[in-house]
Amino acid sequence: MWIELLTKVLIAGAVLTGILSFGGVLTWVERKQSALMQDRIGANRASILGFRLLGLFHIMTDGIKMFAKEEFIPRTDHRVLFLLAPFIAWLFSLAAFAVIPFSPELTVAGYQVTLQVANPEIGLLVAFAMMGMAIYGVVLGGWASNNNYALLGSMRATAQMISYEVALAAAAVGPLLIYRTLNMQEIVIRQGQLYNGWLPLWGIVLQPLAFLLFLVAGAAETKRVPFDLPEGESEIIGFNLEYSSMRFGAFMFTDFIEKILVACLTTTIFLGGWQVPWLADDGFRLGGALALELGPMVVWLLRLAAFGIKVCALIYVLMLVRWTLPRFRYDQLMSFGWKFLLPLAFLNIIVTAAVVLVLNL
């Protein structure tokens, strides 16, 4: 019992540390990638003993600077809420990673090894619940700041996030009607089938419309361009206006963590999770025949790598979008969510349910 709990804590620590490091690297990738697209050099000055490593040390210098800044607390009636808001946002966006199936289960010497902390039957609902809780950080942060602009910014951000939360959950219903489970490992396993022996039946193949809706709603939910009104770095004042030092850093980091979270959820539901095309438990199979035999450990590592590659590819697509599209106006943003995404998601649910019922999939 205690051994099991300790194992869970260790896995949770490993997963969360990995996510935080990946989030740190993403801050650098974001800067370098924007520089690439705008024909600039990008962050490259920080160095240790003359080594610059493409500016990778900027991750560390950013962190040190965040920690070393003055922690300003404005005169406010809601001091506790003001202090709590970034903590809540950060905490719950991290906790959602408890149910993400980074890898399948592997039995080594009688022990189950997996990088998924918890695998409850309602895994996907847990992830959505944690994403919903993270909104409280934005609400409370703006409310407790004692500042008109921060309050308006947080109202805008909240309205946007809750609107697209509905669209996000509705878009996921389509593929889930085909898998008919909310267990994250089961969702991935159901996508391991092949159509005609060659086409992997991933969610994106069966539900291309739902994939687009989910990705767009996910981008809006995590305040990505073209839905980045809550941030609007240089033009619009946002909810985090009165925050400084690591409390501001917490909000910024939460954004990166939520981007990873949305990429992970999209990968799990639509891109086959840890599935590698044509890779079965005992090796690569082409047309039912074993083409290349592999040990269980190698298969496990390949599948773990596949999950990582899919997540990175999705995040890169979102970054490409960021420097390609201009920003929405606020009324366009709200009507896009309620009048376009949500009706389309409902339509997708109805059609999918009817087809699944008739064809008895």
Binding site: E4, L5, K8, V9, A12, G13, V15, L16, L20, F67, A68, E70, E71, P74, R75, F87, W90, L91, F92, L94, A95, A98, V117, A118, N119, E121, L125, N146, N147, N148, A150, L151, M155, A159, I162, S163, E165, V166, A169, A170, V173, L176, L177, R180, L182, E242, S245, M246, A250, D331, M334, W338, K339, L342, P343, F346, I349, I350, A353, V356
Partner: protein
Amino acid sequence: MLDYVAIFLTIIVAALMAGGALLLSALIGPSPAKTKEKERPFECGLVPIEEPGRRFPVHYYVVAILFVVFDIEVIFLYPWIASFDEVGLYGFIGAMAFLLVLTFGLIYEWLRGGLEWH
């Protein structure tokens, strides 16, 4: 059961990480004396003319109410997904009726201008 305990444990680990980082920043950072000017709400250097946090457009309430209605609707679809095979055609008709009633709600809201933003 262990899975749900594990989620709780993850929340604790996440709280330690996030709380630790925020606490560290509070300990390391300087804390110079506060002045009256510094504590004033930051409005790009202008003197604020209105006390913050008293009034904001009613539209945000409408969006919040819509969110509650439709999020609960979508969450009610999830048990239907999980038991799709057991409830079959009966469940399908029930879910469609449920979905249609709320879609009419959305259309009504749309026609009445509740989704417009001025």
